[in-house]
Symmetry: C2
Subunit: 467 residues, 2 copies
């Protein structure tokens, strides 16, 4: 049994709700089409479905009030951070209110001794790290985009540092959440661990706004490592690169980042970021620790990589060099678009057990070739997670159809290899159709049971995940 499908509110309902909101929040309520479109999906080829109203609260209490007002009219609510999500999370297929958290970006508290901080959801990860600069601490989760912390919680984001520091699942200590009834729930304490009941924090991490709106986040922080050592290394094949990564992780080398770019992606990066990397499969790696520690780790890694045909080691010993390299990694989205001017990038990510990664990548590359697509690959290979971005001319229906078919096969392949349809982007609208294949009917029914219990009217970001 599904949660009820909400009706699209009538124009009269929206007008009434707009009036009530405006009375309270004045010009923090916006209904112009341009702003509403910006608050829906804008990043990939999924259609833009704007909300009816955008409102910018400044406190948890205001969010609670907004939820109660909207719920009284049975109007859906869609939380909004920076708009960088990739699977249609922000779309409003049933209309509703976009709750834009961009005015809620305070760093509420830093507890240096406890290695944690409390933030409002609208602060972005770069803003947070900028404000933490003098503390000797940092927040490591880095999905590339300068996403909001609230959005990163909602999609269970991760990125390049996850192999060492974990994902958002591991780095959120507690949340304040406004649920569908407008109740304000605090999901945990500041203790590093607890066995005191159900894990409400993890219930909301990754729930994409479908169970409530996050209004405060207590995050783990980490000490800035004394030394960082990193660089690049080339491999004859993707399989060799994967095998080197497996051996590295098995030998308990605490690699902080280990990223794979395939030769297509390297070509794009070279052009876009003006680098001269060898255009073969490439690993970017980084170690965090003491001076002696990272030197030893990098040496060990070099020995392991060499066993698997790794060559052309280039160490980036200066912070500037490293920044340039990682900026290039983060710019793969733009670099990829440069490979085919006029094309739209169709982002997707899957994740498989690392033992299956080489095989999954090889089959995927063969599939790209047979489909006649251009689709660079970049991956958080230490986690078995990779991104494929077909570059598609949207005015060519045949190419669009080939790309769609390819994306289906990509996900089916990952699931067949005991993996997941998304390692970090989330379900949104784009991956809903794969959840049954991945989880099975019993698990999916349980997810629906949870959704129905927490949000019986299905007003919290409807049309996403399972309802």
């Amino acid at each position: 049994m599904n949660a009820p499908t909400p009706l699209r509110p009538s124009p009269a309902t929206i007008e009434a709700l707009t009036g009530e909101l405006t009375k309270r929040y004045g010009n923090r309520v916006v209904t112009s089409l341009a702003v509403r479109q910006q608050h829906a999906h804008t990043t990939t080829w999924l259609a833009n479905q704007p909300p009816d109203i955008v409102v910018l609260p400044t406190t948890t209490e205001e969010v609670s009030e907004i939820v109660r007002l909207a719920a009284a009219h049975r109007v859906p609510l869609i939380p909004f951070g920076t708009g960088s999500s990739l699977e249609g999370h922000l779309n409003a297929p049933f209309g509703g209110v976009s709750v834009d958290t961009s005015l809620m970006k305070r760093l509420v508290a830093v507890h240096s001794e406890d290695l944690d901080c409390v933030v409002e959801p609208g602060i972005t990860r770069k803003e947070l790290n900028e404000q933490l600069r003098d503390t000797g601490l940092f927040f490591p989760i880095d999905p590339g985009a300068d996403a909001s912390i609230g959005g990163m919680v909602s999609t269970r984001a991760s990125g390049t540092n996850a192999v060492r520091y974990g994902t958002m699942r591991d780095n959120v200590l507690a949340l304040t959440v406004v649920t569908a009834s407008g109740e304000i729930v605090r999901t945990g304490s500041r203790a590093r661990k607890s066995s005191a009941g159900y894990d409400l924090t993890r219930l909301f991490v990754g729930s994409e706004g479908t169970l409530g709106i996050i209004t405060e986040v207590t995050l783990k922080l980490h000490g800035i490592p004394e030394a960082i050592s990193g660089g690049t290394c080339s491999f004859p094949s993707v399989k060799d690169a994967c095998d080197a990564v497996i051996a590295t992780i098995q030998s308990a080398l605490p690699v902080a980042r280990i990223e794979l770019l395939d030769e297509v992606q390297v070509r794009g990066v070279n052009v876009y970021s003006k680098l001269a990397l060898p255009e073969t499969p490439l690993l970017l790696f980084e170690f965090h620790g003491t001076d002696a520690g990272v030197r030893e780790q990098a040496e060990r890694f070099g020995e392991i990589a060499a066993e698997f045909g790794g060559s052309g080691f280039a160490f980036a010993t200066q912070a500037e060099e490293r920044s340039r390299l990682w900026q290039a990694r983060h710019d793969v989205y733009w670099a990829s678009l440069g490979l085919r001017p006029g094309a739209k990038g169709v982002a997707s990510d899957v994740c498989v057990p690392i033992s299956r990664l080489a095989e999954c990548l090889a089959e995927t590359k063969r599939d790209i070739e047979e489909s006649g697509l251009i689709a660079p690959i970049a991956g958080h290979v230490g986690d078995g997670n990779f991104h494929v971005m077909p570059l598609v001319m949207l005015d060519d229906p045949d190419e669009v159809s080939r790309a769609e078919d390819f994306m289906h096969r990509l996900v089916e392949r990952a699931i067949a290899m005991e993996g997941t349809c998304t390692g970090e982007h989330g379900v949104g609208q784009g991956k809903m159709k794969y959840l049954a294949a991945e989880h099975g009917d019993a698990a999916l029914d349980l997810m629906r049971t949870l959704k129905r219990a927490v949000d019986p009217m299905n007003l919290m970001n409807p049309g996403k995940i399972v309802a």
Copy 2:
């Protein structure tokens, strides 16, 4: 609104269910009082409340069948591992069937390249590590007792290694669970991370059998470190020891274990384990890494500890020495009992932000003294988690009452310091009364909503956590 309180089944109902179970499972169904008592709470001063029937399934399908049979009669179900839980999790206040998983202890699969394994819930952590011995991998979570993996999942167990390797929350990749309806749910894939919907795995980790019965566990494993270095170090005061730990963690030294024993606990350990440790607050520490790495880390730690008055460094370089030391740490329960022959140990644990730990410990020690109790303290101090075990003569009502009052104040103190009423033992029956103070009414209502949605008849381990 609470989940319904189950009625205690009538003798006729139990007789009928016993017959149905015996027809299927023969002598794997036991109803003798001695066995039933062994399957209820036996470890602390909470009263023993035996189940009506003990059944030993061998497969997930049998567990599903048992759940369906019991549910048809509205008879509660209580999963059982090794019986080492401390808060009354195994008691059957409404009678019911103890589902003993001790025949389900296969190591189903080891995936060395992926650093994971699949186990049945009845295998204990020591049995698992024994069987992993030739793989170069190990399962680090170590709560002291040789608990079953299923039980450790259920209580969100942790222990001495958690500061480096995390708790059960962080080390379970996926579960197979039989829910209240007898459905078999698979909560995740073998991918290291996923953003594909609600985190069903974390819903069950720490749920103490109240949402379903765990029948298979996919665990993360870790490479056995090339080198281990550890030892002990004495401090003038508990506060100095805590400050040394805070400085260690802030400086990003990757300590694998860091344990505090107060002077009372050290005295008990010396007697029980025939050691000659200085009877002042003591830290036990351990580093995992490469030869050079652990040497450097131990040196750094020595410098930091010395700043806070640490002295009497004793390094245990040989594996045998280290084993002896950690065995002594694990034997604190028995060592403590030795401090007061005839007394019952009343175990409890709380966890606070590490910045509050010294203050929390100082107030607790003052409270112990003012209460006229003998109560050694041992703590996973890197996490802010510590154990206090008053040694109580149960035939002295005044002393029992003083110990109870002390335990209340201990929990209230931890919660007031932004901590939790239990860091690793779980809620069971013993800590139910503190959940409202810790979580607040809105969060507790949400936990009850989840319980009611997943187990509407309240048959899964009723009388624990919130229902």
